[in-house]
Symmetry: C2
Subunit: 333 residues, 2 copies
């Protein structure tokens, strides 16, 4: 049986949307008769209405006394050892669950993942790995926001993890690109120039060289390596473009009967587009480099995003992501 812990108290819309997402997921488990069990971590007042729920075969309640506010500082989070997020990390550490999902504060989750769950050997800093829709299926962006500042050797570790993750997702021999402001070797800061040399040395032909922002969605490479600051800005920028586009389509369509009928006939295409660009489709992203499956859901997650984040976590367990990563890191030593 796969056991997945969910931090019911983390996220802008916690606890209601998080609970609703858990119930959506439980409903699917019931239909598919899957051998998966949820551990819902939250306060008594947040979880009491789930007692004797018709889906309660599919989850266990873990009552805690504390939870973290969304704007908590990581250093303070480390002292809150009775918080729902801490308890989740602790359950994972003790192998009482196989995966842990939270939509709470990213910095706090990173701190717990690193210091409570622990890092894999050979990894200095865990990173967020985000599969992005691209012309080539998808591109893994790593780091998506865990480490605002990096060293060149961290980027090499991100590359190793990104390659293994892309392999787990079905790419046979993933190519890696370094996100930069031009494709020439001498582009970017001194950090980037050094990272370029190290990546070339370590990856050999699997290193494509520098790539630019547009290459993420074009799918020029399978893995795009970057610091967490730039990665986060790129991800959020994609969200903004998608919103601008959906708004433009809606407002322009309303301006004439051709637009209205067109939109109707075009609905299948627009639905596909929305699905491709909706961050909720992915729901959650892995903190790679941790000795356990930790999935970060978007802080703004609604029930659909939470349900999908739980699916991502299950996928990680089913595909043995941690063991594969360890083997990959061993080979790279």
């Amino acid at each position: 049986m796969i056991r997945v812990a969910l931090d019911v108290m983390g996220g802008d819309k916690a606890p209601e949307e998080i609970k609703a997402g858990a119930l959506m997921f439980a409903e699917e488990l019931k239909k598919a008769k899957k051998n998966i069990h949820l551990i819902l971590i939250g306060t008594e007042s947040a979880l009491s209405d789930l007692r004797n729920h018709r889906l309660s075969d599919y989850f266990t309640l873990e009552i805690v006394r504390d939870y973290l506010p969304m704007d908590i500082k990581p250093t303070e989070a480390l002292r809150r050892k009775e918080s729902s997020m801490y308890i989740g990390a602790q359950l994972l550490k003790e192998h009482k669950v196989d995966a842990f999902v939270s939509a709470g504060n990213t910095g706090a989750l990173l701190a717990y993942a690193t210091l409570v769950v622990g890092r894999l050997s050979g990894i200095d800093r865990p990173a967020l790995a985000v599969p992005i829709p691209s012309l080539n299926g998808f591109t893994v962006l790593i780091d998506g926001g865990a480490n605002a500042e990096v060293r060149p050797d961290y980027l090499v570790q991100f590359a190793a993890m990104g390659v293994e993750y892309a392999r787990t997702l079905g790419k046979s021999s993933p190519k890696v690109g370094l996100l930069n402001v031009g494709t020439e070797e001498n582009k970017g800061t001194d950090m980037h120039k050094l990272a370029y040399q190290m990546l070339r040395e370590k990856l050999g032909p699997a290193f494509h060289g520098n790539v630019e922002g547009n290459d993420i969605n074009l799918g020029t490479v399978d893995v795009v390596v970057t610091d967490g600051f730039t990665g986060n800005v790129a991800l959020k920028t994609m969200e903004g473009v998608a919103k601008l586009i959906s708004h433009t389509i809606k407002s322009e369509a309303k301006k004439g009967i051709d637009g209205l009928i067109g939109a109707l006939l075009f609905s299948r295409v627009l639905k596909k587009l929305k699905q491709k660009l909706d961050p909720r489709t992915y729901g959650g992203t892995f903190f790679l480099g941790v000795d356990g499956i930790v999935v970060k859901a978007h802080g703004n997650s609604d029930r659909v995003a939470i349900k999908n984040a739980l699916k991502v976590a299950v996928q990680g367990v089913e595909k043995d992501l941690i063991k594969n990563l360890e083997a990959q890191l061993e080979r790279w030593k």
Copy 2:
């Protein structure tokens, strides 16, 4: 009369597409009877077929002996004093032209703009200011790629220039946001934290605080301030999303008769969308902070982009951008 110099030798598609763009622009001048004159800078072999051209009343040829390759290093560029780009900067410095447009190497153009044309008083580093389509009309992103690394005080200078540019483009009291990985005050690197304090002190209520990548297209603020590395990645990422979307729409529409008819009826909407997202619509962006109108066109510019870059340059001259900037910087001292 407004005189605009164009570097015919700069750009991935130089000289043919650059010349074609100049001729498109000249054609429009002829139709609109505008008092604008082009100075086309290039080698004899690149420009000879424009002699005795039917539009030759609208341009003058400036023959040079040298031009810069696209991958030149800025330090080497400074030695190439007979190159088309250098001559363009020189003409601007000597007030023989009112504006200079090039699609050549960004670093070289920045070096010439800074060291040949010269900086405005109070500006350490010129920056690329890019108007981005947003739900609120447009958002000025500064720096769009001139300075890969910045100091907090550079960001304050970028803010001053961005505000004045937004004003020139029609915003009455522009709000400024600092691009970061979260909206809270303590987000980002030490550089960002310091920049936040300096911006708040200097801008007062005009400083909105931190913004995220999605805020660029959402139009949360009128000016988004960032380093040139992050700004360039954000801009290029937008391009990539737009391409993925246009590709998805095309390939999905082909999958059924509903999609095909829908696309037809929807063509007005799609055209509007394309126009909004096509980087060629802007064509060129100002290097702000230079004592003269210098417009950088995208390295990949085709004729349409070049024509639009020339329009951008003319707009800068007509709106007295440099004088307004100088007055703004004076007020900020």
